[in-house]
């Protein structure tokens, strides 16, 4: 009974070999679909209260099936924990909510109170995002140790607000610098046991990679806006007031301000181009950011590199579009049948309250089913696939360091997650 195959309690440290490790994702599509579809139905039945269980299920699935150097992650959080965190968060937010409500009434909603409230809520929201991240990290177990996060949530929230302002001022050009700075902050305060994390992605590199996309989207948007600015709005306003009918107004504009039509045409074409470009280029953008982000992650001497391929991400999104098309078709048929049934049962001339009630219920129901269906399809196709592709394409250096980590850090409180949920800023 005393012969054992391999290993041993005192794993031989050996010389540090510069060995690389892979990340794998083992999860299949079908079980994830099951979790999401069941979750969507129960969200409807419980008016959304089921979300605590759904988010826990999806995390368990994603974590458990993500394998780093042969060992899978484990999500150890529970739905009850987040539910309690949410209830505590509500209890804390109620007084604040009442203060804002009374303040808004007293001063008038257009007053400075709104500004203060928006900034305060944004800060609390980002603080909650930080605390929720802390919760997720401490509930992420790998090789018998959990991750943890240090650092101040308020500091993080102020940084986020600052970068939001910078991004708005620079029409998005500051995005790479914001990402780099915030990721440095986040990963710099992330630890796996006693292994400190950091982020080494370069903002300039991301900027150079993303610049072509930025031009393709922002340049036409600027053209569209300048087309509007070029119009003499005072003159158009005068014509509108003087005109007697729509055709009269249109005729006058054609005679007195012919450049108006050109400007509007340019606006529509340029803005349309920008919107289409933004949609078409989104997977490319996501690939660039993901590759840059994964390649910037460091834990002590362990570094990650990503070989995520843009082509694969586009395939994931095309799959999403395919499913979406089928779903839209199915919803159209269901909607048609539903309203036809209501028409047959109640007749068209009948003004009865039941017919109205059923019509409104059917409309709300169809809308909710469509929205939940859309989100389910997105998560089960594009999101799962991008997660899988990102994991599969990552390579870690010096993984032998992972075998010698000591445990550290206290488990985080679920309050942050609950607060994030109450403020609708929760993430995966």
């Amino acid at each position: 009974m005393a012969s054992f195959d391999a290993g041993g309690l005192a794993t031989a440290p050996g010389p540090i070999d510069r060995q690389t490790g892979n990340v794998r994702f083992l999860g299949q599509d079908a079980p994830y679909w099951r979790i999401l579809v069941r979750g969507a139905v129960l969200l409807m039945v419980t008016l959304g209260i089921y979300r605590f269980w759904l988010i826990t299920d999806t995390r368990r699935f994603l974590w458990a099936n993500t394998e780093i150097d042969g060992e899978s992650l484990e999500y150890s959080g529970t739905a009850l924990e987040i539910l309690l965190g949410f209830l505590v968060a509500i209890a804390l937010l109620v007084p604040l909510y009442i203060v804002f409500f009374l303040g808004a009434l007293g001063v008038g909603t257009a007053g400075p109170m709104t500004g203060i409230a928006v900034v305060a809520l944004a800060i609390i929201g980002q603080y909650a995002v930080w605390r929720a991240r802390s919760y997720r990290l401490t509930r992420t177990v790998f090789r018998g140790l959990h991750f943890h996060q240090t650092g101040s949530g308020l500091h993080y929230a102020v940084c986020v607000l600052f970068w939001w302002a910078m991004m708005a001022l620079t029409l998005g050009l500051a995005y790479p610098f914001a990402q780099a700075s915030l990721e440095r902050f986040k990963l710099g305060h992330t630890h796996y046991g006693d292994l400190p994390g950091r982020f080494e992605g370069s903002a300039v590199q991301l900027l150079l990679r993303g610049l072509p996309l930025w031009f393709v989207i922002v340049a036409p948007t600027l053209i569209a806006l300048s087309a509007l600015l070029a119009v003499d709005w005072a003159q158009i306003g005068q014509i509108m007031r003087a005109g007697r009918s729509t055709s009269d107004i249109l005729g006058r504009i054609g005679a007195q301000a012919p450049e108006f039509y050109g400007a509007i045409g340019l606006f529509v074409v340029a803005l349309g181009f920008a919107v289409v470009a933004a949609i078409v280029l989104f997977p490319a953008f996501q690939t660039i950011v993901m590759r840059w982000w994964v390649s910037g992650i460091r834990f002590a001497d362990i570094s990650a590199t990503s070989q995520l391929r843009m082509f694969d991400v586009y395939k994931a999104y095309l799959r999403f579009l395919g499913y979406l098309f089928l779903f839209a078709l199915a919803m159209l048929i269901v909607a048609f049948v539903t309203f036809a049934m209501i028409g047959i049962v109640f007749g068209t001339s009948d003004q009865s309250k039941f017919a109205e009630m059923f019509t409104i219920l059917a409309m709300v129901g169809l809308y909710v089913v469509s929205a939940l269906g859309l989100s389910t399809i997105y998560q089960a196709t594009a999101k799962l696939w991008v997660w899988r592709l990102t994991a599969q394409s990552a390579v870690l250096s010096d993984v032998s360091l992972l075998h010698r980590v000591k445990g550290a850090g206290e488990p985080g409180s679920p309050l942050g997650e609950g607060l994030a949920d109450a403020l609708n800023v929760g993430g995966l």
Binding site: A2, G7, L9, T46, E74, L80, G144, H146
Partner: protein
């Protein structure tokens, strides 16, 4: 005595080192042995807990363990034997499903409670609270709301006063209007300063805001065929002021947005449900409130000796041209229903008291005549 044995991966929860260990199933505990046969730890079966893992791994931990020590077993026969011995482990998920079903049941119950409190609790609370809110506070809300509403309604060209009655040709009309309002106010016992304005809007409409602000649209005066019709509408609006319905609406709106906005969270599509629920509920609250204001208006008109049935007639005439829609989305009951209720309260009158003389009424009809609309 051993009930079974096998190998596993073990993480002690203190370091990330992976240990290949041997497991022995003793009667009361899972014994973890290193390769030399020395005992590393013993895990009591009652404290074993099944942890989330990929399908090919059976992962267990120990309840109330200060560290996150884990055992990972890929030998499914061994996993099955441990499952049989440990009361809290069920790999089929039957007990987890049972707990989950109970949670879903509670969640559904909570959802039902929330819907019921939205339908019955919120209006009840608003009804109880509205009368005890200090009048000074309501007036402050009124000032804020009034400024906002006025800004939203005033779509006229710059330079044209929004309110009627300022220009020279409008002065006589304003005097007549004020005389009419004074008579109605004196009968109403409002206990709130009243500000009634006629404004340049083409719609046949009138409404009251918190804090005693009442707006009468030019379109309504244009459509009124006699002074009693106009007076009845104003009396109805004074009913809203007296019942503090503006305050009640503010409280109800706050209650509903708290219930649906914060408690339900924003699951996808939830926004639409919240909006639909709010619209339908607020319309339902509002229909009751309108009936109460109608009754108030009738009492005021009867007290003045004027024609109380004018309101029903006027409503039916001006609502004739509104397009049909969903009646459960209407915030007012249908004109026909209201007229029937009003007629049931007010006896028919052959010859009422004149609130204004014909000259005053003619002047009032021209209260907005100073500017082209």
């Amino acid at each position: 005595m051993s009930l079974g044995a096998g190998t596993a991966r073990y993480f002690d929860g203190r370091t990330s080192a992976r240990h290949e260990v041997r497991l022995e199933l003793a009667p009361h505990a899972l014994v973890i042995l290193d390769r030399d046969g020395a005992i590393i730890d013993q895990w009591s079966y009652v404290r074993l807990k099944h942890l989330s893992a990929p399908d090919h791994i059976f992962r267990v931990g120990l309840r109330k363990n200060p560290v996150l020590a884990r055992l990972e077993i890929t030998d499914m026969q061994l996993a099955h034997e441990i499952d049989l011995l440990a009361p809290d482990i069920d790999r089929t998920g039957a007990s987890a499903r049972k707990i989950r079903r109970r949670a879903i049941g509670w969640a559904a119950l909570a959802a039902a409670t929330m819907v019921l409190s939205a339908i019955y609790g919120v209006p009840l609370l608003a009804d109880r609270l509205a009368p005890v809110v200090p009048r000074g506070f309501e007036q402050r809300i009124g000032v804020a709301t009034n400024a906002q509403i006025r800004g939203m309604l005033d779509k006229g060209p710059p330079g044209r006063p929004f309110e009627c009655g300022e220009a020279a040709v409008e002065q006589a009309g304003r005097a007549a209007f004020q005389k009419l309002v004074r008579q109605l106010e004196a009968t109403s016992n409002l206990r709130m300063p009243l500000t009634v304005s006629v404004v340049r809007r083409p719609e046949a409409n009138a409404f009251a805001l918190p804090g005693g602000y009442v707006y009468v649209f030019q379109g309504l005066i244009d459509k009124a065929e006699n002074v009693d019709e106009l007076a009845a509408v104003i009396a109805h609006e004074l009913g809203h002021v007296a019942h503090r319905d503006g305050m009640r609406a503010v409280l109800q709106g706050a209650g509903l947005s708290f219930l649906f906005g914060m408690m339900l969270g924003d699951f996808v599509g939830g926004g639409a449900v919240v909006l639909a629920a709010r619209t339908i509920l607020e319309s339902a609250y509002s229909r009751n409130v309108e009936n109460a204001a109608d009754r108030f208006g009738v009492r005021v008109m009867l007290a003045l000796g004027a024609d109380a049935r004018a309101l029903g007639r006027f409503l039916q005439r001006i609502s004739g041209d509104t397009p049909g829609g969903f009646t459960i989305l209407l915030d007012h009951p249908t004109a026909r229903e209201r007229a029937a209720a009003i007629n049931a309260m007010a006896p028919p009158q052959s010859r009422g008291v004149a609130l204004l003389d014909p000259y005053e009424w003619a002047a009032l009809k021209r209260i907005c005549a100073g500017y082209r609309t």
